[in-house]
Symmetry: C2
């Protein structure tokens, strides 16, 4: 006999991108920011003492909620903090989707969504994106009957941001929760934060992992109308955001200027790297994120493997819709020069 | 219409103990350790730089798992790390209990267990402890049909540790997972860690919150035979323990001597405070934890309220089984002197 729920037994776990201990690798595989976090975070770290760590952290992370609410022009009770935005996605599924229920998400998208559904014992409706990786006109109809629709905007691993008019239409037409995952939104031209004022069924989630260079501290933030936040607060672990993260995360949020400067550098590198890869024969999709999704002139799995031999890590997603593409995180200009140089060598060797 | 699952809508959230910002209060309400963590943790904190925080942490927290496995004489794949032991309790319910399923736990015990069951959409069998707050002889029979039996040892809020022979019997007789919550075990005379070698259905969880003075960093550890750990790893969030906590937690675990010195001080204070309260007319239950569960000579709710006026926080749990008692965390000798002085004043005012 097994002690484990059938849904867990039968599933494979989620496979996160490789986190190699070899720091000599050029790491362009998990969409981390190549620049250090704000000097204000360094100051906040230096100010921390261990004496305070004997106490539990604020269970509601009020200082963080207040700062995010201020920046987003919302009330504090419209914001919830998570142990990374993955924690918030988990909380969302557990709040809104029953075992035996259904979620919906585009295909391709962030591969964690179906895994979270599976853990909950729920089914996933995969809605194929069109040939430009945008939602089909009947997206809401295909999602009908599910309780929660995940839309990553910009989408991963494709990098494009679905049209705002499409997003509005989906929020109006879909009958359940529309969870807009804005992990990459700081790198995009626009975002859906103001949807929260308009739609009672919308949740927007953010993270400090990418634009704030703080993947290591695990801090996610989500906003929605207070009745939804109230229910999600019941589901989260009481002390889900630790004391260190509350202090460092607050310092990071308060320094918008540092974040925006890094975002601009990454956007500039993104434009240049896209042009260079295009010149080398790649089909590069338009990106609003801190990565490029590009079809190499050689099989993408071979390309990823060859880069590894050059000590460069990128992410390859097998499968019908994604298997022809490589996902390359935008690093520093020097990182991208190494990538381009290795790419030229690999292509010349063919 | 509501977007929220019925089970969440109908439940009240868990209420954690108050975390006041007023640091002048004597805080004896949430079982924190009154002494600072190891100097090795202070050194580890000083060695942290923010540059590394741009990267994701090790999803498996391997250094922590290896250290715990070494200390517990287990293999690394018999250990899982959590964002506090509450995260591990959540993972346990999600791995082993279906929506519509059942858990079992003593009454009274840690009030989070039924809340976690409720979030999962599961029912709780409450097994009344006897008049000495020990499990009834037919405990396994009462728990029959449930998937997971939570046993806190030492138990909260009562402070006693169930007999080891009773624990062995329960692990043999109960057909589901026996989750032994050892959050307070470092303060006890013995523990159940070696049960993991013997029983394929046992999970033992620990925390650095109490004995290691690190409630603020959120680190829990659980051990079980590898087939159980393998399933729980599928359910945990990929990056559930952040980079800061992995570094500080490892430093803490490695300094067993500091932890044990503090434990001995707290045990000595516990003996003395129990004697003093007894002399003041309290009925003090035997405690193997870092708190006392004691029946004051005046109504316990009035006692807690009166202490608050003296700027001393303790925890009061209303209810038939617990409402006559006050739960008092063991602080420093000075903290306890203040408690005793205030208590004398309160009793004299009656």
């Amino acid at each position: 006999m097994s002690y484990t729920r059938q849904t867990i037994l039968e599933m494979a776990g989620y496979t996160p991108g490789e986190q190699p201990r070899d720091r000599l690798l050029v790491k362009l595989n998990t969409n981390e920011n190549p620049y250090p976090p704000s000097p204000a975070v360094t100051e906040a770290l230096a100010s921390l003492t261990t004496a305070g760590l004997r106490l539990y952290p604020d269970p509601l992370a009020r200082a963080l909620r207040q700062e995010a609410a201020r920046q987003w022009n919302l009330s504090e009770d419209a914001v919830i903090c998570g142990n990374g935005s993955d924690d918030l996605l988990t909380i969302g599924v557990r709040t809104f989707v029953d075992q035996g229920g259904t979620i919906a998400c585009p295909d391709p998208t962030y591969s964690l969504y179906p895994v979270l559904a599976r853990i909950q014992g729920a089914r996933t409706i995969h809605i194929p994106l069109d040939e430009t990786f945008n939602p089909p006109p009947d997206c809401a109809r295909q999602a009908a009957g599910s309780s929660l629709l995940f839309l990553a905007r910009p989408n991963a691993p494709t990098g494009n941001a679905f049209d705002l008019s499409t997003m509005h239409q989906l929020c109006r037409d879909y009958q359940g929760i529309v969870w807009i995952d804005e992990a990459y939104a700081d790198f995009a031209a626009d975002n859906c934060l103001d949807f929260v004022h308009k739609y009672p069924n919308v949740v927007v989630s953010r993270t400090v992992s990418k634009s704030y260079s703080l993947a290591g501290i695990r801090l996610g933030l989500a906003c929605a109308q207070p009745p939804l936040i109230e229910q999600m607060l019941k589901v989260k672990d009481s002390y889900n955001v630790n004391a260190l993260t509350q202090t460092l995360g607050l310092a990071a949020l308060k320094d918008q200027s540092h974040m925006q400067t890094n975002v601009k550098r990454i956007q500039a590198t993104r434009r240049w790297a896209a042009d260079e890869l295009t010149a080398l024969g790649f089909q590069v999709l338009p990106s609003e994120a801190n990565f490029l999704f590009a079809r190499p002139p050689i099989p993408a799995d071979e390309y990823a493997k060859a880069l590894r031999a050059h000590h460069i890590l990128i992410r390859y997603f097998p499968g019908e819709r994604t298997g022809d593409y490589a996902r390359v995180t935008i690093g520093t200009d020097a990182d991208m020069q190494k990538l381009l140089q290795a790419t030229r060598t690999i292509l010349a060797d063919q």
